[in-house]
């Protein structure tokens, strides 16, 4: 369990989003969301070029083929 400062930060940020237009808060959020995806896909590009990399990517894909019930 994270400490209370984490919960406080979530509340502060939610208040900021609530009181500011999307054009303001999206500038803060977009780099975080995009960088996660860009960095991950760049990593997979590098992995694909290594020996056995494609096989590892295949196994990573299979990890996501789950019998999920939500």
């Amino acid at each position: 369990m994270r400490d209370k400062t984490h919960a406080e930060h979530i509340e502060l940020w939610a208040e900021f989003v609530k009181t500011h237009p999307r054009s303001v808060w999206i500038k803060e959020v977009k780099p975080l969301i995009d960088s996660q995806i860009i960095m991950a896909n760049k990593f997979y590009e590098r992995l694909a070029k290594t020996e056995g990399g494609m096989e590892k990517i295949k196994r990573l894909r299979e990890l996501r083929i789950r019998k999920g019930v939500v």
Partner: protein, 187 residues
């Protein structure tokens, strides 16, 4: 570049491009984590959850083929009959990605019970997100996160949404949905 386009995240563009195809074939709703993220929750995710109506195989096959033409592929199989018979009909989700990429993915499932049908029936566009997407209601998302999913991340998502919509939330509706979740998903 158009300002609206520039302000779309990779997840926003992925979701809008995907539903642009899906909505030609069936009703859909975006649910769970991306609902919170589209409302400014500052966290990452690898997937977006989408529920569509309980369509038949023929309709699914047409939709799948249109998704391929739009540059998506299904991780589970390239054969729509396999995807439908082995996964969707079995109440199991499947994942679509942009061809050649691993993330993000769209986790797609068919509506499986009256709760999912109710979610689709009460779907909404949410202007605060700035996105042209149908979402399940905020009350529905809060109820699922607090009653069924309950991870730390889900509870934080619910808290975030509760603050954003603190002046309009229908607590009776949340209580009703939680009762339905207990009856249909937890019993």
């Amino acid at each position: 570049m158009n300002r609206e386009i520039k302000e779309r995240t990779i997840l926003d563009a992925f979701a809008e491009d995907f539903v642009h195809v899906v909505q030609k074939h069936t009703k859909y709703i975006i649910v769970s984590g991306f609902v919170a993220i589209a409302h400014g929750r500052s966290r990452g995710t690898e997937d977006i959850d989408i529920i569509i109506e309980k369509i038949g195989k023929d309709t699914f096959m047409k939709m799948h083929n249109d998704l391929l033409l739009a540059g998506f592929e299904c991780i589970q199989s390239e054969y729509p009959e396999v995807i439908y018979d082995d996964y969707l009909r079995d109440k199991t989700s499947v994942r679509y990605v942009r061809k050649g990429l691993l993330i993000p993915d769209m986790e797609l499932k068919l509506a499986k019970d009256e709760l999912d049908e109710y979610q689709i029936k009460t779907r909404k566009k949410l202007p605060l997100t700035g996105l042209d997407l149908y979402f399940s209601s905020i009350e529905m998302n809060i109820a699922f996160k607090e009653e069924l999913l309950r991870s730390e991340k889900d509870m934080e998502d619910a808290k975030h949404l509760r603050i954003i919509y603190s002046d309009t939330l229908d607590e009776k509706e949340i209580a009703k949905i939680k009762a339905d979740i207990r009856r249909l998903r937890l019993s």
